[in-house]
């Protein structure tokens, strides 16, 4: 059975209405990082955003997180306009976001402490240590664990606040492919147990297909949504399966078309 059935796909958790954001770069040129983006994220779905480097994926996530504000348009989470960062929108950065002065368990607990929850978090932290498979590493410091472990801790730290949506900005981008596959499965597992809405930014097509219910394809300069593709394959998905490969071909074609447009000095 397809996994989406388990989740309530009807209601919209996050609504992005005609959002635009431009930046002024170092040479005083305006860069249209996002132009007129509209998107509805369904409650409980696993949504991926894919596109070449510089097409505004990070900008989009930062707007949702409240770390940045749009020039025009608005973002609405559960009926409320997004203004500031808040724990109901968890954010996992690409890498190096753990507090190096805190142990694994204290990094996870910092998710609770940051918003002022100090009491009785031991059991909850222990549960997440277990969930991400880091039992025995509770007292390790970030520099003592691998990059893959560190990303799992970052995910746990964001998830411990039970966010309405978890924003993941290429969390596996800096990892080797074995570790990456490992974390992808962990992420699916967490998604199933916590039923958190996931919004993953990636530039790995296989990763997007392996994980997502829907894949948003973005094109750069200006950053726009080109197409949204539904992936109706049951989990666990087989990376070599016929349907998997045909979706893959489809997306690659679209991405290729997308990047066929002339890109001046910004490439990469």
């Amino acid at each position: 059975m397809s996994e989406q059935v388990l989740h309530d796909t009807d209601s919209v958790v996050l609504k992005i209405n005609a959002v635009s954001r431009t930046y002024i770069d170092d040479e005083d040129k305006t860069v249209e990082a996002l132009r007129d983006i509209s998107l509805s994220v369904r409650r409980g779905e696993f949504l991926s955003v894919i596109g070449s480097s510089g097409c505004g994926k990070t900008t989009l996530l930062r707007l949702i997180a409240g770390l940045d504000v749009p020039e025009s348009g608005e973002l609405i989470l559960n009926g409320e306009k997004i203004k500031d960062p808040a724990p109901q929108r968890g954010y996992v950065f690409q890498q190096g976001s753990l507090f190096p002065w805190l142990t694994v368990e204290k990094n996870i607990a910092s998710g609770l402490k940051a918003r002022g929850v100090y009491k009785d978090n031991k059991a909850e932290v222990a549960r997440y240590v277990e969930l991400i498979g880091l039992k025995g590493f509770e007292k390790s410091f970030p520099h003592q664990i691998s990059g893959g472990m560190a990303q799992r801790v970052a995910i746990a730290r964001a998830l411990i606040n039970n966010p309405a949506v978890l924003l993941l900005d290429e969390p596996m981008g800096a990892l080797d492919s074995f570790t990456r596959a490992d974390i992808q499965d962990k992420l699916l597992e967490l998604w199933k147990t916590n039923k958190t809405t996931m919004l993953l930014v990636t530039h790995d097509v296989d990763e997007a297909i392996y994980l997502s219910d829907r894949i948003v394809i973005m094109t750069p300069r200006p950053g726009e949504i080109k197409e949204i593709i539904e992936v109706k394959l049951p989990h666990p998905r087989h990376r070599g399966g016929t349907e998997f490969l045909s979706i893959r071909r489809d997306i690659l074609e679209k991405l290729h078309l997308a990047s066929a447009a002339p890109q001046p000095e910004y490439a990469i």
């Binding site: 409240g66 724990p87 976001s97 507090f99 910092s110």
Partner: protein
């Protein structure tokens, strides 16, 4: 019973070379494979210099005419500087023997012990030579360069008085340290956090930071009611400016991603300051304290030499007036030990607090 001949060639017992094992197993707890004889010789040479120094003291004829007076300790005990000197050397020998025994079971410590052997051996020889030239033959210019035993004389002559001076210095340092570190960290946080404060205060800090604290002495002595409080003030500003600028640097260099992570977790300003910026600045704060301690020792001694009723600097100054250079040496000797103990204590706290830093933990 296992059949040895069925084992692969390289796992057969005779294939294991005992000589290669002795070097290839590093680390704590590994059974020491170095030769006992070699280690015993190593230990012997470590203390041999000091044994030689004792031998020189006891056996070398006292050719020059040098007055050596006995001091009464308690009711029945009477000892002179040579007795105390031999006692001290014996203490050093005992200490190094203990270190030798203690280091034996640990490869790292053993290596360190081995590395230090020539130096320790040399110290003993130098002491012996010094005694020959400075006491036995009296060839060194007197009273500027007394022999090693003579330098211990103040400890027999006026131990209570010396202790008083040590405590005075220690008290000055402690007050200055506590005030200086507190003020330094607090201003550093303000400068590092508020751009406005940075704009106005940082240039002032930069300029006053290069002025040696003792330059303020005339003001300090007139503005403060007692020489003691004036000295505390001078030592405080020594610590203050250095620590403030380094704390500010540490706060300002906090990666943006750490603040952003904290914000997405729901953190407000207090958390960002106390749980993100300050922990990040900790290494720099300790760097600041270490640098400041260097300035502080200089300032402390100068201040004591110039206008304090006590302290080791005062003791040096007062002894110089009487040409009692052996007391000057004694004070310098105490300072060396006292100041390195202080640095060690700070280093110990630092290694605890910064346990999270890469490279600081030995695992």
């Amino acid at each position: 019973m296992s059949n040895v001949s069925s084992l692969p060639e390289n796992l057969k017992p005779e294939a294991i070379n005992p000589n290669s094992l002795s070097r290839d197993i590093p680390g704590r707890g590994a059974f020491p494979k170095i030769s006992y004889v070699r280690y015993a010789l190593l230990s012997l040479f470590t203390v041999l210099g000091f044994i030689a120094a004792i031998a020189v003291n006891r056996l070398f004829p006292q050719i020059a005419n040098v007055q050596i007076e006995p001091y009464q300790i308690g009711k029945s005990l009477s000892i002179d500087i040579n007795d105390l000197y031999v006692l001290a050397l014996s203490g050093v020998i005992l200490l190094y023997t203990a270190i030798a025994v203690f280091s034996f079971s640990d490869a790292d410590r053993r290596k360190k012990f081995e590395r230090r052997m020539p130096f320790r051996f040399a110290i003993g020889l130098v002491l012996g030579l010094w005694e020959v030239l400075g006491t036995k033959l009296l060839l060194l210019p007197q009273p500027f360069f007394p022999g090693p035993a003579r330098i211990l004389e103040p400890f027999l002559m006026e131990p209570g008085y010396i202790l008083q001076q040590i405590l005075y210095s220690l008290r000055l340092f402690s007050y200055g340290f506590v005030f200086g570190v507190t003020a330094g960290v607090l201003t550093g946080i303000l400068i590092g956090w508020f751009p406005k404060v940075y704009y106005w205060v940082n240039p002032v800090l930069k300029i006053s930071g290069v002025i040696p604290a003792v330059a303020w002495m005339p003001f300090a002595l007139t503005l403060f009611p007692t020489p003691f409080s004036a000295a505390i003030f001078l030592i405080t500003i020594c610590q203050w400016f250095t620590i403030a600028s380094l704390t500010a640097q540490g706060i300002q260099s906090t990666p943006k991603v750490h603040f952003e992570v904290a914000k997405t977790l729901g953190a407000k300003t207090p958390y960002l300051v106390f749980r993100v910026a300050i922990p990040h600045a900790m290494p720099q704060i300790f760097t600041g304290i270490s640098i400041a301690n260097g300035f502080t020792f200089t300032t402390l001694v100068m201040v004591e030499m110039m206008g304090q009723p006590g302290g080791l600097g005062y003791y040096i100054n007062a002894s110089k007036v009487w040409s009692a250079y052996y007391k000057v040496f004694a004070a310098i000797f105490i300072m060396a030990i006292l100041f390195s103990l202080i640095l060690r204590a700070v280093g110990f706290v630092e290694s605890r607090v910064l346990r999270w830093q890469k490279g600081l933990v030995k695992s």
